[in-house]
């Protein structure tokens, strides 16, 4: 993930998270505020409902009292005292109810038989036994009651008054219907709606809140996304549940507000994301570009271009970093140059030491021989010729040694470029190992077992056969030198992944890690009589063939050199 993407995601996440938190908090506060307002409104409405019921009840009681005080009722009461035929009063309640704007009115005789009914005229003669329940109806307030009608039932606010009729009482039971008109008279705020569920009706559809209140009559509130609904139970005289008033407060306003908040938050979030995008581009141009340049410079340094310089475009931390990087590369270059210089000096010194060492050995016999010649010339001229012959022979021998030493150094210096041709590595390995047969079988030589493990599936590879033979020869020589008391020499070939591997292993003393590190340094040797050029030549050959050489060794467990050469895709 790029730095720019990270910046973009970070800014976007920050903006969106902040907006979301603000929106959630505002939404929660708004919801809380609305719910508090709804609760207050519902409570006020419940109080208003009770007051309205009380007011209407008082009004109903007043109207019923007016009916009880009316002439027809007074006349009926008088007639009832004289046991008159009441059929002539059959229609009386209707006109009286009309006069007093009552929806229900029944004139009931002392035997509780209906004399006249306004709401259900046909019910005359039927008994209203519940009228015996109160001792003095004239002290009773209005109450809710289920009124049976010809076409069903209705909920009424009923008041009863009694008039003395002979030895008994004439009851006047009247009231008004609690219906839609009553609900409309309640002061509903905007978004508020009332509904009256009558307990004696069968519900058209299931309503959980109503069912709950029916099971256990108490005020309950149910909140949904659409509305909060409060159910207020309405009871009759004997506390039975007659109806349930549902006060529904629409939450549309809240929903709209929350939706608005969400929309605003979304818009701000999207805007924030766009801003983050722009900001990330800007930040990238200001921050990541120097970093990218710095990263590019680091990569070039890693590739070996130690003189790479990172542009310093600002004075901030990135700029300081670029400056420090430049200073670091500068120091690295200087240190490299110094190291190269030191290595050159060391190499020259090593070369001089080697040359001195190599040359000193032949030179000392030369000097002794020449001094012997001089002493022989002066001390015994008669023996001079013999000494001369012997000395010149020695001189020639030592000069030959010098020539050989110089030739080796010359050969190393004059390593030619490889002339590649298709070479059978297995064949080369056999040939080279065969060269050492005589040496290994010579009397007095250490017993060395040779093992040739060749991969018969190997195909030819592009290589210079002479240089390859030379490299293998050097490795075998090293291996034999490493086993002065004998051992096992293994020459192994194998192929894999478009490469050919040639391994030369011995069972000698092995090498320390430090020795392994310096093994391919020119003129470095662990042998007393080596020039330190053998492995350097091997490495040179392998490097010229674009291959690699590695050494694996542990003290006491022998050493293995492994050369890997490319097959150019053929096996």
């Amino acid at each position: 993930m790029s730095f720019r993407t990270k910046i973009f995601l970070s800014i976007t996440a920050t903006v969106v998270l902040a907006v979301w938190i603000v929106a959630a908090v505002v939404s929660a506060l708004v919801t809380q505020s609305f719910e508090r307002r709804d609760a207050q409104r519902t409570a006020a409405l419940a109080g208003q409902l009770q007051r309205e019921l009380d007011r209407r009840g008082a009004d109903v009681a007043r109207r019923v009292q007016a009916v009880a005080d009316s002439d027809p009722v007074e006349r009926l009461a008088v007639n009832l005292g004289g046991s008159v035929d009441t059929s002539t009063y059959y229609a009386e309640a209707q006109s009286l109810a009309e006069e007093q704007s009552l929806d229900f009115l029944e004139l009931v005789g002392p035997d509780t038989a209906i004399i006249s009914s306004a709401e259900w005229p046909a019910r005359f003669g039927y008994k209203e036994d519940w009228l015996r329940e109160a001792a003095d109806w004239n002290k009773q307030a209005a109450f809710l009651k289920q009124e049976n009608l010809a076409d069903g039932s209705a909920l009424g606010l009923i008041a009863v008054r009694s008039v003395k009729a002979g030895d008994g009482m004439l009851y006047v039971a009247g009231g008004q219907r609690l219906d839609r008109e009553f609900l409309q008279s309640l002061p509903a705020a905007e978004g508020e709606r009332f509904e009256l569920y009558r307990n004696f009706d069968s519900l058209g559809r299931s309503n959980k809140l109503v069912d709950e209140v029916r099971r256990q009559p108490r005020q309950l509130t149910q909140v949904t996304d659409a509305a909060s609904v409060t159910a207020i139970p309405l009871r009759g005289r004997d506390r039975q549940l007659l109806a349930i008033l549902l006060i529904e407060n629409s939450r549309a306003e809240l929903t709209n507000l929350k939706r608005y908040i969400q929309a605003t938050a979304t818009a701000v979030g999207v805007g924030g994301a766009l801003l983050a995008l722009l900001l990330s581009f800007w930040t990238a141009s200001r921050v990541t570009r120097p970093l990218r340049n710095l990263a590019l410079s680091v990569r070039e340094v890693a590739l070996g271009k130690w003189d790479t310089r990172a542009p310093v475009t600002s004075s901030d931390e990135v700029g300081q970093l670029a400056g420090d990087f430049n200073a670091m590369t500068q120091q690295l270059v200087e240190q490299r140059d110094r190291m190269i210089q030191a290595e050159r000096v060391a190499a020259w010194r090593e070369l001089a030491r080697r040359l001195a060492h190599e040359l000193k050995n032949p030179l000392f016999p030369l000097q002794i021989t020449i001094e012997n010649l001089q002493r022989a010339r002066e001390a015994s001229p008669e023996q001079f010729d013999e000494v001369f012959r012997e000395s010149t022979s020695t001189l020639l021998t030592e000069l030959g040694h010098l020539k050989t030493i110089i030739g080796r150094f010359s050969d190393f210096a004059k390593m030619p470029a490889p002339e590649l041709e298709a070479v059978d590595v297995n064949q080369i390995a056999r040939e080279v190992l065969q060269l050492f047969d005589a040496q290994l079988r010579a009397p007095g030589s250490a017993p060395v077992e040779t093992r040739l493990q060749l991969d018969a599936a190997l195909g030819p590879i592009p290589a210079d056969p002479d240089q390859l033979r030379r490299a293998l020869r050097n490795l075998i020589l090293n291996a034999l030198d490493a086993m002065p008391r004998g051992g096992a020499l293994t020459l192994r070939t194998s192929g894999y992944d478009g490469k050919v591997a040639v391994e030369v292993s011995d069972t000698g003393e092995g090498l320390t890690p430090e020795e392994c590190d310096r093994l391919f340094t020119p003129y470095y040797t662990t042998k007393q009589h080596g020039t330190g050029l053998g492995l350097a030549i091997v490495q040179s050959v392998v490097s010229d063939h674009k291959g690699t050489i590695a050494v694996h060794s542990r003290p006491g467990h022998g050493t293995t050199f492994r050369i890997e050469l490319k097959t150019q895709g053929t096996r």
């Binding site: 002539t88 059959y90 229609a91 009386e92 046909a122 010809a150």
Partner: protein
Amino acid sequence: MRLPGWAWLALSSALLVPLAGETRPHYGGTLTVELSSPWHAVDQGAKSALPIPVAETLVRVNSQGAVEPVLAVAWQHDPDYKRWRFSLRSKVAFHDGEPLTGAAAVPSLLGALKQRYRDVSIEAGGQALLIEAGQAMPDLLEELALPEAAISRTGDASPYIGTGPFRVTQWEPGRHLTLAAFDGYWGGRPFLDTVAIEFGAARGRADLFDIPVGPVRRILPEGFATWSSLPRTLVAIETGDVQPLLPAFTLAIDRTPIANVLAQHKADPAFGLLPQWLSGYEFLFATPPDWARAKQIAPQLRGASTGLGYPPYDPFLRSVAERVALNARDAGLILQPTTAPNAQLRLFEVMLESTDAAHELRRLMQQSGLGALDDTHDPSTPQGRYNLERGILDQRLIVPLVYLRETYGIGPRVHFQPSRDQFSLHLEDCWIEP
């Protein structure tokens, strides 16, 4: 207090007889009449208890069921009752002065008789009438006594010209009708000079007004008396295809409150198709309500609502329907009063138009949808009528509820001659104090 029919009859007679006897009849004066229902034809009230005596029939049937001559003075028929010969009263003139002849009577008679006898023909010659038909006409006299067979005609001066004691002088359909005494009436000039009838009025200022049946309670002005006719309008329920509920339904109906309260005592409980005064056997059908039995039968029928139809704009029948539905509910039956024409049960009224039991039974069956009589029953005899009614009632094809009376308020200055019957009020017998 509930009064039986005979008591009402006695009470009405008691009210009228002293009125007639206390003062001597007086000629002259105008009788004002208020009727609650509007008439749209002059002869519309011919079947009511206050018939307008403008046109007359050839004969009439008195309260004892005997045929009396009116415009016909003699008649005879062949043994097969297919050929009848009538002699018309002489020196009878229409209100416009035209003499009553056989030819003048033919159109009215033919129009009336064609409804009963399709191939009837009438020949007129002078004051004689020959009525013939391919079928026997044993009831021809009763048919000729019906108001439909009254002899009348139209003229330039009046839309309705008859030979009765009063003639039409002013007619505004549905609003006003004025009658004047016909000085040339063959039976002698009536006492009243004029009868002014207002329709649809209920001001209670007239000398004579009807008191409709139903819940409207009307307080009679001081000095006014009431007159009630014999029970003459049957209120009943025609049953349709709801036979399963009828046994419980008929047991649940309590007729007495309907007669006493809803009809305000202007009705008698009805258990037969013809009223007791007309049939003489109606008491045999009387069955009191039995709610316990009705409940035993009814539970199997619960759940279904049955429509009980009643005519629209009739508050009395509506109240009856509601009461019947309430009775049925007590038995566990659900009846729904409705004005829909396709209700399974139908509440209807049939007014008696004559005192001829056979004719009325026949007509009642036709009007209640039972159809014409078959040959198995002979309604001309009391036994035949009883059997016929018993069959209908046992099958519960019709459930009678009450028989309504017509009631009128009569002012203190109005007097009637001793009544010929309690079936109708006769304006020609009426006189008023100056």
